[in-house]
């Protein structure tokens, strides 16, 4: 059953890819905006690698790789954030430890599960064109849930991301909000796994934010631009992938990278033109 959409989205598999991509394209940069503000740009990458270990564990144990990835990623992300909040480790060191443990664990578990099978590759590099209606529905539900949580918490998350100590003195539940953001990051990573793959999840969280911060002059506008650029990257990326038979995950991220280059050039030109 497909909807009457124009090319390149006239086929059902493209419509499922579009639905999944739109959910992830909007959510990943929104979460990424708070991570960049907290100087945790690589959080998505670290969590992605832990999700990979979860996928491998799921394949080994014969349970749903997606659910295992969700459990491992949420637990890992919240542990990293807890260590950072308790000052047991600096943010980037905690990330590095989990990053490498995750990828090494994933490799070992994959080895145990047999040869590097195509199931693993689907999650490493994404496979949005083979998303089932059930997966697409699941990804959209996760996307709506993330948007709903952000709609309620973004002002408090902004206050915490800007100045954790001042927020704590003012009485904001800094620990709960930070752990909540870590959990949301993990949910986003797992939702994005089928779209761009764990290796490129962080790119979709960070690149649109890099572009948005050059176009926007407020935090609210940065959020709106980041989501718009994320959505644009998904739609243009899927179109190019269909037209030229390219790998969709990589194409989506290359479009986001191209947008970053263009906005950086525009911003540089604007700065040079501005009288001193």
């Amino acid at each position: 059953m497909s909807l009457p959409l124009p090319w390149p989205f006239e086929r059902e598999y493209m419509q499922l890819a579009l639905a999944s991509g739109v959910a992830v394209g909007a959510c990943a940069p929104l979460i990424g905006t708070f991570l960049v503000q907290k100087r945790l740009s690589l959080m998505g990458d670290g969590v992605g690698h832990m999700a990979f270990a979860g996928v491998a564990a799921g394949l080994l144990m014969g349970v749903s790789p997606l659910w295992m990835a969700l459990v491992v990623a949420v637990a890992g992300a919240m542990t990293i954030e807890w260590l950072r909040l308790r000052r047991r480790a600096s943010g980037d060191l905690a990330l590095a430890v989990f990053f490498y443990t995750g990828i090494a664990g994933g490799v070992v578990l994959t080895g145990l599960a047999g040869s590097l099978n195509s199931g693993v590759l689907t999650y490493l590099f994404g496979s949005v064109l083979t998303v089932s209606p059930g997966d697409a529905f699941g990804i959209c539900v996760l996307g709506v849930a993330i948007l709903a949580v952000l709609a309620v918490t973004w002002r408090a998350l902004f206050a915490v991301a800007m100045d954790e100590e001042a927020a704590r003195v003012a009485g904001l539940p800094v620990d709960a909000l930070s752990l909540g953001l870590a959990a949301l990051t993990a949910v986003t990573v797992v939702a994005a796994m089928r779209v761009v793959g764990v290796l490129l999840v962080a790119a979709l969280m960070v690149l649109p934010v890099g572009s948005a911060q050059r176009l926007a002059r407020s935090f609210g506008a940065t959020l709106r631009w980041a989501a718009a650029i994320g959505l644009g990257s998904v739609i243009v990326g899927l179109t190019l992938a269909r037209a030229a038979a390219l790998a969709p995950g990589g194409t989506i991220v290359l479009v986001a990278a191209a947008m970053f280059t263009v906005t950086a050039a525009v911003d540089l030109g604007r700065r040079r033109a501005r009288p001193h």
Binding site: T33, V209, S218
Partner: protein
């Protein structure tokens, strides 16, 4: 040296009270038997040489670090038991300048209201009015839509003061807010703090080396040296020590760094 003797009984609890507070990092003692208080409506400066424990004292007073001895009370309650935390406004020493992403002056100031109204609630008219008043006090209402990174250091500091004022706190703790700030911003700062203190009864604890700008407005000066309070009296008593806060602005830092 004189140590202040407060009234035996006071109807309202002190905004801030420390009794015999001790704190150390491992074996390195930082605060030793520190007692002090700031009453509602009082403007108190906390001075001391570098490494005397001022910033640690502020962290302990605000509940960011638990004391290893003694008692801390904010409005009569232990910091972690104070329900209305918005009653305490805090301007950190090196307030984080938002250089990663653009944020406007208004967004930063409005973030100071989030805790008071409840973090999941949308801003109401009363919150917008609070932000408006805070912007007016620091004279930055006309820069509300300017990204904070485009402001001078002194103006940025005023934004963070406005953020602390936005919840309309009853105790304002400022850690080195005027270090390296231009003269106009110093005067704006003085006006903002003194107005809150005198007309609204806000208690102010100002941690600073540079007290010249507020010398005439202070009720008391507390001097910390080697982690203990060595002076706690009105600024006029410093004159008796041959130390001037006003005209000879460098006198206090010189005196502070001198032999104890």
């Amino acid at each position: 040296m004189p140590l202040s003797q407060g009234p035996a009984a006071n109807a309202r609890p002190d905004a801030l009270r420390l009794d015999g507070v001790g704190f150390s990092y491992g074996r390195h003692g930082v605060l030793d038997d520190v007692s002090l208080r700031v009453e509602p409506g009082e403007f108190v400066a906390l001075a001391g040489p570098n490494g005397s424990g001022k910033s640690t004292l502020v962290r302990v007073a605000l509940g960011l670090a638990p004391p290893q001895g003694g008692e801390v009370r904010l409005f009569g309650e232990p910091p972690d038991r104070l329900e209305d935390r918005w009653r305490v406004g805090y301007v950190p020493q090196r307030a984080v300048v938002v250089d990663q992403l653009p944020a406007t002056v208004e967004e930063v100031v409005a973030s100071g209201c989030v805790a008071r109204r409840g973090w999941a609630r949308r801003p109401a008219a009363a919150d917008r009015a609070r932000v408006e008043r805070a912007l007016d006090v620091v004279a930055l209402a006309d820069r509300r839509r300017t990204p904070i990174v485009e402001l001078s250091g002194g103006q940025q500091q005023r934004v963070f003061i406005a953020r602390a004022l936005a919840s309309e706190p009853e105790l304002l703790v400022l850690d080195e807010p005027i270090a390296g700030v231009d003269a106009e911003s110093q005067e704006r700062f003085r006006h903002a703090v003194v107005t809150r203190c005198r007309s609204e009864g806000v208690a102010v604890l100002l941690v600073s080396h540079e007290l010249g700008a507020v010398a005439d407005d202070l009720d008391r000066v507390i001097v910390l040296r080697g982690g203990t309070v060595v002076f706690d009296a009105p600024p006029s008593d410093l004159t008796a020590e041959g130390v001037s806060l006003g005209i000879h602005r460098h006198d206090l830092p010189v005196w502070l760094e001198g032999p104890g």
